[in-house]
Symmetry: C2
Subunit: 472 residues, 2 copies
C-alpha cells in the first residue's frame, strides 16, 4: 500500500544536516525562538484565513524518526551518535499561535515556536508545508463562500488535486466554509460530510439515460441526484429526470436534485428550473459543477442562475491561480539574544525578539484595520510604524486591543482546546464577519495595516546597525 506518513524525515535535508552540526558542536539544546509569517496575500485578496494548526499540533505531539527514517539517514552517512540522538528525539517545545480560523495579514508573526535549537529548526519544513497549504485552501474556500451566500458548497477536487494534497485540501475547504466533500478518505480521516452520486459513465453504461436514472433511483432513492448533461441537458437529461422523479413520488420518494456539468450553466440552470417547476418538482435542487471558482460563481449568481449547490474542484483544491502561500519561518531569538536576517531583499528582513500581536478593534467589535507587532515586554500598542517605511505611522492607542497569540502547546503537549472542524469553520466565519467589506472585495482590496512598535523597530535597527558595522 502506498502510504505517506508525517515522520521525522518529512523535512528538508538541510534541517537534518544543520541538526548534526548543532549536535556535534553541543548547541542542539540551546534555546531558540522562530516565527511564522507570510509575505503576500494570495489571489490578489485582502487577507488569509489561518488553517492547519490542529494538524500541526497533532503532528508535533507525536513527531519521531521511524526505523525506516533512521536507516535512510544512515545511508546518507549521518553518524551513529547523531542517529541515536534522532532515535530518541521527541518535540518538547512550546507554541504560541493565533487561533485556527483567524483572519491574518502579511508580515505579521502568527505562530511563535520556542524550544531547543534542534527541535525548533527541525520542524521548519513540516510547519510550513502544513500551514501554508491549509491556509491557502481555507482562504480560497472562504472567498467562494463569500460569493455563494448560504448556498451549499461541496469539494469535488480529488481527481485534480496535487496527489494526497487533496486530503488536506478537502479538510481546509471545510475550515474555510465549505459544507461537504466528495473525498471519501478525507471525510473518513477528518469526519467531514461526504457527498456524491453519479458520473457520466454510469449513464453511458445503460442503453438509455432514462433506464440509468430509473435504476439509480431504485437503488438509492434517498440521495438521488441525476447528472443531466450526458447527451443533451434540456432535451434529454431534464425530461428524463422529471419522468423518474414523478415515478419516485408514486413510491413515496423525492429526488434530491439534478446536476449540470457542462455548457452555459446560467442558461441551463434557468431553463431546467423552469421545467422542473412546471412539472411540480420545485423541491428538486440544481447542482452545478465544471471549472467553477469564486469569479464564475459570482457571475452565475449575478445572472440570477437558480443554482442551489456548487461543486467546486480544481480551483479550490489547488488554490489556483496561486497554488502556494509564501509563508516563512524565521529565527527571532537564540541563546537569549534577539536575531536578525538582513537579506538582499528588503521584504526578507526579519523581526527580531519575542513579540506579541495586538489587533485593534473598533467600538462595534469589528477589526479597525491594524495589527500591532510589539515586544513581549510591552503591555499594549501605541504608535505603530510601517516596517519598511517608518515615515508611515498611526496610533492605535485609543482602540481596544486583542492579543492574538495564545499558548497552544507547552513542552510538547497541547494546552489549547482541541477545536473540532465545525468550531474552526464557525470561528473563521465569525472573524471574517468582523473584517470590513473593503478588505474582502476581490478587486484591489483595502490594505490591512501591520505595524511595529517603536521599541521593536529600535531593536531591529540596532541589530541591523551592528551587523552593518561588522561588515564595514
Amino acid at each position: 500500500m502506498l502510504s505517506f506518513d508525517i515522520t521525522g524525515n518529512y523535512t528538508d535535508l538541510y534541517e537534518i544536516t544543520m541538526g548534526e552540526v548543532y549536535f556535534l558542536s553541543s548547541r542542539k539544546d540551546e534555546p531558540a525562538c522562530f516565527d511564522y509569517s507570510f509575505r503576500k496575500n494570495p489571489f490578489h485578496g485582502g487577507y488569509v484565513l489561518f488553517a492547519g494548526l490542529q494538524d500541526l499540533l497533532d503532528i508535533l505531539e507525536d513527531l519521531h524518526f521511524t526505523e525506516a527514517d533512521l536507516a535512510f539517514l544512515k545511508s546518507l552517512n549521518f553518524k551513529p551518535p547523531y542517529l541515536d540522538f534522532l532515535k530518541h528525539f521527541r518535540f518538547r517545545g512550546s507554541v504560541h499561535s493565533v487561533r485556527e480560523g483567524e483572519v491574518i495579514f502579511p508580515n505579521c508573526p502568527v505562530i511563535h515556536v520556542r524550544g531547543t535549537l534542534f527541535e525548533t529548526q527541525l520542524i521548519e519544513t513540516l510547519l510550513l508545508n502544513i500551514i501554508n497549504f491549509e491556509s491557502l485552501i481555507a482562504t480560497k474556500a472562504s472567498r467562494i463562500r463569500y460569493v455563494a451566500g448560504d448556498r451549499i458548497l461541496s469539494d469535488f477536487g480529488l481527481r485534480r488535486a496535487q496527489g494526497p494534497g487533496g486530503i488536506l485540501a478537502a479538510k481546509a475547504a471545510i475550515a474555510g466554509g465549505f459544507n461537504s466533500t466528495s473525498n471519501v478518505y478525507a471525510a473518513s480521516l477528518y469526519h467531514l460530510p461526504a457527498a456524491g452520486t453519479m458520473a457520466h459513465s454510469f449513464i453511458q453504461s445503460y442503453d438509455s439515460e432514462l433506464e440509468a436514472f430509473r435504476v439509480y433511483a431504485g437503488s438509492r432513492p434517498d440521495h438521488c441526484v441525476f447528472l443531466v448533461d450526458t447527451y443533451d441537458t434540456i432535451r434529454s437529461g431534464v425530461p428524463n429526470a422529471i419522468i423518474v422523479a414523478r415515478e419516485m413520488e408514486k413510491a413515496g420518494n423525492k429526488a434530491a436534485g439534478i446536476r449540470l456539468d457542462s455548457g452555459d450553466l446560467a442558461w441551463l440552470a434557468k431553463a431546467s428550473r423552469k421545467m422542473l417547476d412546471e412539472a411540480g418538482l420545485s423541491y428538486i435542487k440544481i447542482i452545478a459543477s465544471n471549472q467553477l471558482d469564486e469569479f464564475v460563481i459570482r457571475s452565475l449568481l449575478e445572472q440570477q442562475a437558480p443554482i442551489d449547490v456548487f461543486g467546486v474542484g480544481t480551483h479550490l483544491v489547488t488554490g489556483q491561480p496561486d497554488a502556494a502561500l509564501d509563508g516563512v519561518y524565521k529565527l527571532a531569538m537564540f541563546a537569549g539574544k534577539p536575531r536578525l536576517k538582513l537579506s538582499e531583499s528588503l521584504q526578507k528582513v526579519t523581526l527580531p525578539g519575542i513579540k506579541k500581536v495586538m489587533r485593534a478593534m473598533d467600538v462595534n467589535g469589528r477589526f479597525w484595520g491594524a495589527d500591532a507587532v510589539i515586544l513581549d515586554e510591552e503591555e499594549k500598542a501605541h504608535t505603530i510604524f510601517h516596517a519598511n517605511a517608518p515615515e508611515k505611522f498611526i496610533s492605535v492607542a485609543s482602540y481596544r486591543q486583542e492579543p492574538l497569540l495564545q499558548p497552544v502547546m507547552i513542552g510538547g503537549k497541547q494546552v489549547s482546546p482541541h477545536y473540532a472542524l465545525p468550531d474552526i469553520s464557525a470561528y473563521g466565519s465569525q472573524r471574517l464577519n468582523c473584517l470590513p467589506e473593503d478588505y474582502k472585495r476581490f478587486e484591489n482590496p483595502h490594505t490591512y495595516k501591520v505595524g511595529i512598535s517603536k521599541k521593536l523597530m529600535d531593536l531591529r535597527d540596532t541589530l541591523r546597525n551592528q551587523h552593518r558595522a561588522a561588515i564595514e
Copy 2:
C-alpha cells in the same frame, strides 16, 4: 502519526455510490473499458511528459478497503452485503498504457483500463489523482531542464508544496529531469538523491557569519555549501566563504559551493564568481534559489549568469501557474458495446470503442508530428481526421508508425518491466529529444496533431446519431 494511505476509500464518494448500484443490480462484473486522456497542455506548452504509471500500478496491485474504510462506509449507510463485497475486493483488471516518460498530447487516449464495471469505475479518481499530478510536475521539470542544459537542478519545494503532494512532486521532478531533492521523505521512499546544507537561521544562530561558516565546515567538510546572503552577499557572505574555503584547503578539504537566495541573482552570481576565481577558488560552485522557474532560469542564463546549480521550489512542486492537469477518464466500452458521451461542450465528447494509438515517425527516428487514434481492429493508420473538424485531415500512411499503448497489467498483475526512476527519466529525455524544437518552445509552440481514423470517426458519428435520434 498523521498518515495518508492510498486505500479503497481514496476516491470520490460517487464511485462507491455507483458501485453499490452496480452491485445491487448485478452489473458489477460486466466488462467495461475506460480511457485516460487530457484536454489541454499545461503552461501554454506543446506537450506533456507522462508520469505516475509505476505508482499507479503499484497501488492497483495492492488496492483494497481497510477495516477503517469499511467502518466509515458503514457509517454512510452502505449495506452489509455491499460492504462484504468491498471487503474482498481486489483489482483484477488490465491496463494498457504508454510508457512512463513518454511525450503525450491532448485528446489522445494514453491509458486504457479493462475489467469489470465495478473495478474500472472505482479506480477513476485515484488514477486521475496520481497521473494528472505526476505528469504535471514531470512536465514542469522537463521545461526547466530544457532551459538549464546540463546544469544541476534540485527540488527545494516541500515547504510550499500542497501538503504531502510534495512527496509525489519530488519524485515526478526527477522523472522530468531533475537531479536531486531536498525532500528527505521522498528521497527515502523513492530512492532519490537528497541534497541540502544550511538555512539563514543557522547563520543567525551564531554571533558572526564567519563563525557559522567555520563551524559548518568543521562538521561537514565534504558537503559544504555556504549560504551567503544572510547579511550582505558581496561584502560579507562571499568574503567569509572565501576565508573558510581557504582554511578548509589547508586541512585538505574543498568547499562545494555558495548559495545565493535573494537579490539580483545574475549580478550577484557574476560578482561572486569573479571574487571566487580571483581567490583561486574556481572549483567552488554557485547555487541559486529564490522563486525560480523556467523563465527566470532562461533569463539568468541569457545574461550569462555563472550559476552551476538551480534550487527550484514553489513553481516546480505546485506546477505554477497551472497547478493541475485536466486529465479525464471516460467509458469507451461496456458489455461489448462502444459507448459515447455527448455533453454540452464539444471538447467533452468522448471517443468510443477499443482503440490504439500510432505515432508517426520520420526517417530520422524523430516524431513527425502526429498521433493517430485508430480502432483496435485496424492494422495501422492511413488518413486521420481532426476529431472536431473533420474537414481537416492528413495522411500518415507513408510514415513508420509506433504503437504507443502496451500491456502493463493483466488480471491485476504487472506485466511490464518495473522501470526504475533513472530509466524513466532517461526515457523521457530520449523521447523529448525526438520531439522537434517547434513543439518545445515556450511561446506559441507548434500544435502536435492527434487525429482519428475514418473508422473511429464513423463509429463515433453513428453512436452520436443514434443518441440524437433517441432524443428527437
